[in-house]
């Protein structure tokens, strides 16, 4: 119990005193995760929508495959990305290993299936609702996708936020491909792992509470910006 109180105190002081290191790793956490989120959404949302409206031979297999990918341990993805980006690997020439870019790549791979799966589910329900009407109006495939994404944006936002949650708390993959290098690739989660390993539980918990706080703020901000709770609009 004492550790939890110490943790809360630690979190409080870190934030109040504008601890420079805390700012640095928090900003880096947000930078990496938000970039990964944007890229993953740009891939996953059209993909999920397309899978909802287009019938093709192996569609059910593709959907099951994407759902299964959600269960892949992030550490495994980290190892695979490390092997690919290693100097002795195929993409070593790009010099991406141990940089935030590598962390972004790993996180994109991890969260795209999550976002795609939820987006697909939402779009499938909406398509069932709109199907007859949109076909009747002679829409093109592209028009249908645009309409579904536009009208289903609240659920797509939920899908994106699910991806954000997965990414902001991820530590295994980014530890491997980022290396947790001080001032370069250290983020909140890897710092927490480091401090836990050193036995400094209070600091680790403190960082953890800061992380939770940031996650809450981001969720609130996005919901406010999109005014999802406003009556009569949705």
């Amino acid at each position: 119990m004492i550790d939890i109180l110490d943790g809360l105190k630690s979190a409080f002081w870190l934030v109040i005193s504008f601890d420079v290191e805390l700012w640095e790793i928090s900003l880096r956490s947000l930078r990496v995760t938000l970039t990964a989120l944007v890229i993953a959404s740009l891939i996953a949302i059209p993909l999920g929508t397309f899978l909802a409206v287009q019938r093709f031979r192996y569609r059910r297999f593709v959907i099951s495959f994407i759902n299964a990918l959600m269960g892949l341990p992030p550490v495994v993805i980290g190892l695979l990305v490390y092997i690919l980006l290693s100097r002795s690997g195929p993409f070593g020439v790009l010099n991406l290993l141990f940089t935030p870019a590598a962390m972004i790549i790993a996180q994109v791979i991890i969260i795209t299936p999550v976002i795609a799966s939820i987006a697909h589910q939402a779009m499938r329900e909406l398509w069932a609702e709109y199907h007859d009407l949109l076909i009747s109006l002679n829409t093109t495939k592209w028009q249908r996708i645009k309409t579904l994404i536009c009208d289903g944006r609240r659920n797509l936002l939920t899908a994106a936020l699910a991806g954000f949650g997965r990414a902001i708390g991820e530590v295994g993959a980014i530890m491997i491909v980022g290396g947790n290098i001080d001032h370069v690739t250290r983020v909140l989660t890897t710092a927490i792992a480091l401090e836990t390993g050193k036995g400094d539980f209070a600091l680790a918990l403190g960082l953890g509470f800061v992380l939770i706080g940031i996650a809450i703020l981001v969720n609130l901000a996005i919901h406010t910006l999109s005014r999802t709770e406003r009556e009569g609009r949705w």
């Binding site: 609702e129 007859d132 009407l133 009747s136 109006l137 002679n138 309409t147 009569g232 949705w234």
Partner: protein, 234 residues
Amino acid sequence: MSARFPLELRQIFVRRRGKTVIGPLDLALGAHGITIILGPNGSGKTTLLRVMHGIERINGGAVQWAQDDPAQHAFVFQSPVVLRRTVAQNLAYPLTLVNAPNERVTTAVQDWLARIGLSNKAELSATRLSGGERQKLAIARALIRKPDVLFLDEPCANLDGHATREIETILREAAAAGTRLVMATHDMGQARRLAQDLVFMLNGKIHETGTAASIFDTPKTSELAAFLKGDIVV
């Protein structure tokens, strides 16, 4: 007016799950007026309409328009489908699909809002309308592109007398303005009020066709006579 008619259906049949839903049947529709497709529930009226509109796959036979331009058909479903947007946006949608210029869109939307009496609800989310309001919206949305032919599948089936009367007025105005109406109903009163031509369907086949006068005054088949009397016909 419309060179797209006459419409000819030759030896159409539709089979679903091993059962023949409609057919084989032949039908020819001319270019003018209001045609009512009459028949008890389950007689295949909906399927026939959808086949004519082109949103139902046929298993045999041919649907022949003199000159087909699918963008000039419109369809109103029995259960009104509204987009998850405002009332005004719903009305504008078919026009935005064809990239109509903004002023034309605004004028048309204002115009139709007034005609269906929803001007004060323009910015309301369409999902909050009552059943009758939704159906009026659906009809207005179907008519906003001035289609040559409007198919309606029992549009007043779930509506009260007020809404039904308002809708029938709108339909008569549309017909007077030159839109060809083809409407399915099992409501004899509505058939009497609106029909200029009638098609009587039973068990997936066409039993009789004719002008309103001839059908109502001198039915040729016993089934139609029984139906007109109000008996249950199977």
